[in-house]
């Protein structure tokens, strides 16, 4: 089995929001990295996930996103996403994550939605 890697970098270019740049694979084994990124985004009222670098995701990864969503909801934070390919956009719709995560085409669109 190929080694699956994931990197997440957190940027805060706009007040009140944090952008998490996802690069690599999100699987059930990604919990520590995802939650570390979430902790780095502390204080932001909106967390924007940049999926432009997402290479692979399995159902364990989707489960982690649900857990992240619950944590964010507890802190009254909202989650947004951009950069999803059509394939991953369909997975978000199939798993109905799009009910709770605002999905946008570009970073600018997502940031505008946070500020609207």
């Amino acid at each position: 089995m190929a080694q699956r890697t994931l990197e997440m970098q957190v940027r805060k270019p706009h007040e009140g929001s944090a952008i998490v740049d996802v690069k690599g694979d999100i699987t059930g084994a990604s919990e520590d990295i995802l939650m570390d990124a979430y902790n780095q985004a502390e204080g932001a009222r909106a967390i924007i996930l940049n999926f432009e670098g997402l290479d692979y995701m399995n159902s364990g990864g989707i489960g982690l996103l649900v857990t992240l969503l619950v944590r964010a909801k507890r802190q009254h934070q909202k989650i947004f996403a951009f950069g999803l390919t059509e394939h991953y956009r369909q997975i978000f719709e199939l798993t109905r994550l799009d009910d709770a995560i605002g999905i946008y085409a570009t970073e600018a669109d997502a940031v505008a939605a946070v500020n609207s």
Partner: protein, 291 residues
């Protein structure tokens, strides 16, 4: 996979030589005597080459669907409360959110994770406790397939519901529940090596779908579910020649109930299965006296 190979998601079309595809005229190809039957790939205009199927995981996920539809299921199955239902993630459920992990170390078994999962998929219904039936499609557990479940309830009632195979690869597969099922969420079955021993795991991420199920889970439903999956894992271990003990780990991910989802009770498969069972004498009488 570079992003340039992905279809655009922003509603814009890729430009070719500074023009959008619909503005670019493909070269005219005239077939006549002596014309080649196969056009070399290099001569096919770029804009008519279909985009490459993208992600590495594309074949592992169910295709997008709006509602479930059952095909090729055994005539024995009571196929109710599945067709036309949407799947529900934990986000659409009502009750507290739980993550339950059931795990067995397959001591004495030298199967690889791929072999464990292949065995599990092939014999999935056989490992279930008695009086609970999983009617999978003839094609087996594959992404996008829908199975019918007939589950034992107290009072000899049978609950009819189903599941969608949301995801399947060589080391795991995930079943997602529809509206009306006891819980909203999914169960991921996986296998992996740990300390040199193969481990089989079932992990449930769920909320009770509606207030009635939430009460039921509190009144013994959770315990029954724990016994169900412990039995399943023990059966799998036994099938693989191991006698590992099943460990259970339960975490409450969210204590809050989502009252906005209380209306899910409209789809409650237990209530609907109860009404269906009550109508059984009438259906039998109609069959007996119909010409």
């Amino acid at each position: 996979m570079s992003s340039s190979q992905e279809p655009r998601t922003d509603g814009q079309q890729t430009k070719v030589d500074g023009k959008r595809p619909e503005e670019t005229q493909p070269p005219e190809i005239v077939l006549g005597e002596g014309a080649p039957e196969v056009i070399p790939e290099s001569e096919i205009p770029e804009e008519v080459v279909p985009p490459e199927i993208s992600a590495r995981d594309a074949a592992n996920w169910a295709k997008q669907i709006s509602t479930l539809s059952v095909h090729d299921v055994s005539a024995e199955a009571v196929n109710k409360n599945v067709d036309g239902k949407r799947v529900n993630s934990p986000i659409q459920g009502f009750g507290k959110m739980w993550q339950k992990t059931y795990r067995v170390r397959l001591v004495g078994c030298d199967a690889s994770p791929e072999e464990v999962i292949a065995t599990w998929k092939e014999n999935f219904p056989k490992f279930w406790p008695a009086n609970n039936r999983f009617f999978g499609p003839l094609t087996g557990i594959a992404p996008g397939e829908v199975a019918v479940l007939n589950l034992a309830l107290p009072g000899r009632l049978k609950l009819s519901t189903g599941v969608l195979v949301l995801y399947a690869d060589e080391e795991s597969f995930t079943l997602m529940t529809p509206q009306g099922h006891m819980f909203a969420g999914w169960i991921t079955f996986s296998a992996f090596p740990k300390d040199g021993v193969p481990v089989a795991q079932a992990q449930v991420l769920m909320r009770a779908n509606d207030p009635m199920y939430e009460v039921g889970l509190g009144l013994g439903g959770h315990k029954k579910e724990d016994v169900f999956w412990a039995h399943t894992l023990a059966s799998l271990a036994s099938h693989l020649g191991s006698e590992g003990e099943v460990e259970t780990n339960v975490v409450c991910v969210d204590k809050k109930r989502q009252w906005s989802k209380a209306g899910n009770i409209w789809h409650n498969a237990a209530i609907r299965s109860g009404f269906y069972a009550m109508g059984a004498p009438g259906r039998a009488a109609r069959r007996r006296f119909s010409p």
